[in-house]
Amino acid sequence: MTAVDTPPSANVGVTKLRKEDAHLVTGRTSWTDNLKLPGMLHVAFVRSPMAHAKVTGVDVSAALEQPGVVAAFSGADLVDNWSGGLPCAWPVTEDMKSPTHLPLATDEVRHVGDAVAVVVARSRYQAADAVEFVEVDYDPLPAVVDMEAALADGSDLADTSLDSNKSFTWQKIDGDIDAAFDGAAHVTTRRFINQRLIPTAIEPRAVVCAPPRETRETTLWSATQVPHILRLMLALTCGVPEHELRVVAPDVGGGFGSKLNVYAEEAVCLVLARKLGQPVKWTESRSEGYQATIHGRDQIQDVSLAFNQDATLRGMKVELLADMGAYLQLVTPGVPLLGAFMFNAIYKMDALSFTCHGIFTNKTPTDAYRGAGRPEATFAIERLIDEAANELGMEPFELRERNWIKHEEFPYTTIAGIEYDSGNYEAATAKAKELFGYDDLRREQQERRDRGDKVQLGIGISTFTEMCGLAPSRVLGSLSYGAGGWEHASVRMLPSGKVEVITGTSPHGQGHVTAWSQIAADALGVPYEDVEVRHGDTAVAHKGMDTYGSRSLVVGGYAVQSACDKVVAKAKRVAAHLLEASEDDIEFEAGTFSVRGSPDASKTIQDTALAIFAAHDYPEDMEPSLDSDATVDPENFSYPHGTHLCATEVDTETGQVTIRSYVAVDDVGKVINPQIVEGQVHGGIAQGVAQALYEEAVYDADGNLSTGSLLDYYVPSAADLPHFQTDRTETPATTNPLGVKGVGEAGTIASTPAVINAVVDALRPMGVNDVRMPASPRNVWEAIQAANGGAA
């Protein structure tokens, strides 16, 4: 594929050390919980200890007697403050069931941690103490915790206002699926469990809200990924006029989807600050967050592949049960549906049938967690391809190569109906195999098998792709999503020649300030140091769609580039005017406009900025400003891909898995800052490995979260993870001027199946053909026992 023309780059493509770091490495930070405002009160929530119950009474009077307590409210006390429930912006079907989700429950609680009342006190300790004095009467109801049981006739209901536990069934069938399976020479079928995870951004959520003072404006600070979406949704939920609400995302400590939401605590703090006329703060404790902040994944996947005699892929069937939890949060039902475009992955096939049932249970709601629907799909297809290769007696790469889209076939419209603009799976794979020492490791594996070593070696492959850069607005509309996927940027040329870039993306670790500075510096031909990037405050960045879905660079970076192009176009007219030349004769390079043929006649872009500020002498038919806005709507998703290889050593006696080496070759298109890209890949891989080996949110039969804190929910430390060797191939995206594809989720999507394929590969000679995630010693040991005849 040919690259789009990119300008000569002094900054783009080069590692620049991050502008973001100085205040972070010295502790001069502004996390939401660091904020202190005069008269600020502290909020604590009273939460249900039961998974499902009728609330028959809430009495806050004893809490009001406690030291420092200023106010306390039950759900019923605040019910008139809500113009609606908390929003679900993705009604995936017309008849989708979505129970009303009030910020504070009034008559029924539906998961452990559902908030029923709130206490406001002068200090955080006093607020926490007073929670114990709120008396809540519960009438227990049966808890629905198992998705399959939830669907059985006569099942208990997760929500008594509904008549079944099914929220929706969504189906998409492409091609003649019956023909594909009826005539198949071989069918491989599996059931995979993609377990529930807890995102665990290391900064817990926090909210501060200040009521109006000099103006009518209410200001809400939140540890959020989505200040713009939050502003609109809180305005609607709480009946506050949108223009009187300012939302600020100050320093935000990671998100991974968990801060891509509109939460009860944000709505309650907004209402409390306005009701009490004083600023309020709430910060979740980690254990509280494990109940009150969204979880991710949680699918039961029944998947089949149909092959011809020659191992050509004919079709794929996917049937999902997706656990919504107790409520539909912002994009809960849409998450699994992204899989409808991703289960086919990099493979050509004639038919794809995708059916997803969204199920309510009495658990914390699920929603987008790093990758959102795509890791689940990628896990299933990459596991299934390995299983099929084994059944067909083929080398796993051979089966992949037989069926993947060849580099000369791009752009390629997949069976799911979307067009992959570019890619080169052959190149990424060749590079990864070489770095990994694939052939040597296969030899060693054979030796260990031959001598019956108790520690077996496994090699896991993941040739993944994903769709990101969310998203073309019209496509989102066709999928019933409630908003568009455009992004906005403003570029201001200051009189002194310095530049302000205002972006609608809202970073929380991704390094936008640095990368956007690189883009703007090259586009405008100004020094990198002369660019400042502002974000995350609706009073400053007045328009935006925020940060998630690996969209920020692909859509937001594109908007920065477009706004800079407009600035340059205006500056060119000013330069032509000042140089008394025709605009057609003006050339622009590295920040300087010159007259073609007379190189001495030139003006810098900074000269034009000053001239237009003075505005004494500028073209008649233009406004005296170079400042420009751009709102861009992508024409397509972007499709990063790559080949990840993992070697694991599995102790067949203890079930202990150790990653011996991990190689990732990613193709994320053009790269703005190689160091930042590498960091994103490292972090992504770590989260995917964590799903494969360590993490699972476990509920007991009564709907209690057994993994309710970091003591029980095992987030890996440095000691639990290996070094990741990363490299890249570069096949530019053809659908945006930067040629970029996005990198935030790639590592997470790729790595989980690479690790599990490696674990299964190690145990293959023992007859093991699946291991339940996480591949803990216990789950591995059980898989070995089951293969031995089930006497575990």
Binding site: L17, R18, E20, D21, A22, L24, V25, T26, G27, R28, T29, S30, W31, D33, N34, K36, S123, R124, Y125, T200, A201, I202, E203, P204, D251, V252, G253, G254, F256, T283, S285, R286, S287, H508, G509, Q510, G511, Q675, I676, E678, G679, Q680, H682, G683, G684, I685, A686, Q687, S709, L710, L711, V715, S717, A718, A719, L721, H723, F724, G747
Partner: protein
């Protein structure tokens, strides 16, 4: 209320606190520190790591009153303040190396990581990759996958040993 005398980042503080106040809450809410973070309620994450009389501790596991009479150093006191003209000149080698090796993304774990690493390097000035990984076992980072944190700690160690550091 209990009287307390603590030296925090070189400044002496006399305060009255409730006896149950955690050191981390004292540092944040009373002293006004912004760099010592809270990431959990089970002493697993290490975001709150500071030095108490020179040794690294998780400040959420210590009561403020237990630190009475002691010296507490936080990330905010780590850089040499005398070179304030150039913001990076006074940085501790670990602060520099986290920056140059991209050992942080959101930065929430970073103060704790750096304070824990500083203590580790006191014990072991030339740790292997494995020793760094095990030495920082008590500190969780969700963003970086640790690869660049390990690199940063070893880079800083080399600088502190006076060795040539490749950029």
């Amino acid at each position: 209320m209990t009287k307390l005398n603590i030296t925090v980042d070189g400044e002496v503080h006399d305060d009255d606190v409730e006896p149950r106040t955690l050191l981390v809450h004292y540092l944040r809410d009373v002293v006004g520190k912004t760099g010592t973070n809270v990431g959990c309620d089970t002493s697993n994450c290490g975001a709150c790591t500071v030095h108490l009389d020179g040794r690294s501790v998780k400040s959420c596991t210590v009561l403020a009153v237990q630190a009475d009479g002691a010296t507490v150093d936080t990330i905010e006191g780590l850089a040499d303040p005398s070179t304030n003209g150039d913001p990076t000149a006074g940085w501790h080698p670990l602060q520099k190396a986290f920056h140059t090796e991209h050992g942080l993304q959101c930065g929430y774990c970073t103060p704790g990581m750096i304070m824990a690493a500083a203590d580790l390097l006191k014990e072991n000035p030339d740790p292997s990759e494995d020793e760094v990984r095990h030495g920082l076992e008590g500190n969780l980072c969700r963003c970086t996958g640790y690869v660049n944190i390990v690199k940063a700690v070893r880079t800083a160690a080399a600088e502190m040993r006076g060795e040539e550091v490749s950029a």
